[in-house]
């Protein structure tokens, strides 16, 4: 059962590490229509307006499309990514050869949606560059909190 406490609280992001991989996950419950959350996640140009972790996304977030993402995590780099899965209002996956980010939405049938963001990076060469990759935890927490705030604002806005 969803409680008021679980709605307001967002569990902090967690990271699991192995020799060849690192995976970070964050999850939060959002009291908004999944269509609103999905629209926020798939409107590339609009990200910088509501998401404090994304500087820009160029391209079209749709299946097999290529996008270029710039993030506050590493302002000097741009990440060239491909949209690998696109299941409207359910699942979005983008990534490159080194990693894959998965967004999932689960409708809880009580006016809330559980949003989960998971990123797995790694490969055989991972141990060589792992120490140069900053922690994603704070950025993931901010992403989820921004999404929740914006989606609930839109849902509850009086028109």
């Amino acid at each position: 059962m969803i409680t008021t406490a679980s709605l307001s609280a967002q569990r902090p992001a967690t990271t699991n590490r192995t020799t060849f991989h690192r995976a970070t996950t964050v999850s939060t419950v959002i009291r908004a229509d999944e269509a609103i959350i999905w629209a926020l996640l798939t409107n590339a140009a609009d990200y910088p307006r509501w998401n404090s972790t994304v500087t820009s996304i160029n391209g079209n977030i749709a299946l097999d499309e290529k996008i270029v993402l710039r993030s506050t995590l590493d302002a000097k780099r741009s990440f060239k990514l491909k949209v690998k899965e696109f299941e409207p209002a359910k699942k979005l996956v983008w990534g490159d050869g080194k990693g894959k980010r998965t967004y999932t939405l689960k409708n809880n049938d009580d006016g809330t949606v559980t949003f989960t963001m998971h990123e797995r990076i790694g490969g055989l060469m991972f141990p060589m560059y792992a120490k140069h990759i900053p922690s994603f935890d704070a950025s993931f927490d901010a992403f989820a909190a921004d999404l929740k705030k914006e989606a609930e604002l839109i849902q509850n806005k009086a028109h």
């Binding site: 269509a35 609103i36 028109h159």
Partner: protein, 267 residues
């Protein structure tokens, strides 16, 4: 009880002006607005038996009109938010633009230049930089005062998506006008309305004219949401076909549409 043809005729006559003004604001094309309004009337008459009364007749007429316009609008590229700069450059290089505009100014009873009319014209152009659904939803809500539920019916989508389009479209327009419009922001880069006022009404003081508009008087308060509401009120209060500047502004709109067609073809 199902509406009769007489009911439909009365409602069409009542909302025809709003319908045409909506269409010209989303298409930028006067002739298209006339044609779509006419086609809407024909389709509504033909399909009246199928009208189930799930919405008002007015909402249904807007739905028909938008269905006719939408396929064409979807095939068009969106305009950049700098449309005013691009079209100003084109106008400065085109001697016909000012010659035609001055002729309208001098000969037409609808050839006055007013800053508030230019505010409405400017919004029509800049709002075409929004994704289409955001532009349509914003116009229907802020200018034509449809409810979220009615807009969802007109646009064949959910209320949640209408809320999303309204929020994102409104946020984007507030940001663009705050950055560009010198009427509400001293740092704003666009002075086009006051510059044109100087050309068309050389005996007027543009600043004195501007402060007659509440949005300009309230600009110092810096409440961007409030200023946007006032901008929408200026637009809602004007009919682009019957206002004192209608002919002049429709001439500007036609010019901008042609310039943007060429610009986007070569971009």
């Amino acid at each position: 009880m199902s509406p009769t043809v007489d009911d439909l005729t009365r409602e069409f006559e009542r909302c025809k002006a709003a319908l045409k003004s909506y269409i010209v604001r989303i298409t930028g094309n006067r002739q298209e607005a006339e044609d779509i309004a006419q086609e809407t009337w024909i389709k509504a008459q033909r399909n009246l038996a199928g009208f189930k009364g799930e919405s008002s007749l007015k909402t249904w007429l807007f739905e028909i009109a938008q269905n006719i316009a939408r396929d064409h609008l979807r095939s068009l590229k969106r305009w950049p938010e700098e449309v005013g700069d691009i079209c100003k450059d084109a106008a400065m290089k085109d001697p016909d633009f000012f010659r035609e505009a001055m002729t309208i100014r001098q000969t037409s009873p609808q050839g006055h230049f007013e800053i508030r009319e230019h505010i409405a014209f400017c919004f029509t152009c800049v709002s075409r930089s929004l994704p289409l659904e955001q532009q349509l939803a914003l116009m229907l809500k802020e200018v034509y005062e449809f409810s979220v539920k009615e807009i969802a019916g007109i646009m064949h989508n959910t209320e949640a998506m209408v809320k999303y389009w309204l929020h994102t479209g409104r946020s984007r327009m507030i940001e663009v006008f705050d950055k560009r419009c010198a009427l509400i922001n001293k740092e704003g880069v666009c002075h086009q309305c006051t510059e044109l006022n100087g050309i068309f009404n050389p005996k007027q003081n543009a600043q004195e004219e501007a402060v007659k508009i509440q949005m300009v008087r309230d600009a110092a308060k810096k409440d961007k949401e409030h200023l946007f509401d006032l901008r929408m009120k200026v637009i809602a209060d004007l009919d682009p076909f019957t206002s004192p500047a209608a002919k002049l502004q429709l001439h500007h709109l036609e010019f901008d549409r042609k310039v943007m067609d060429r610009h986007l073809d070569t971009a």
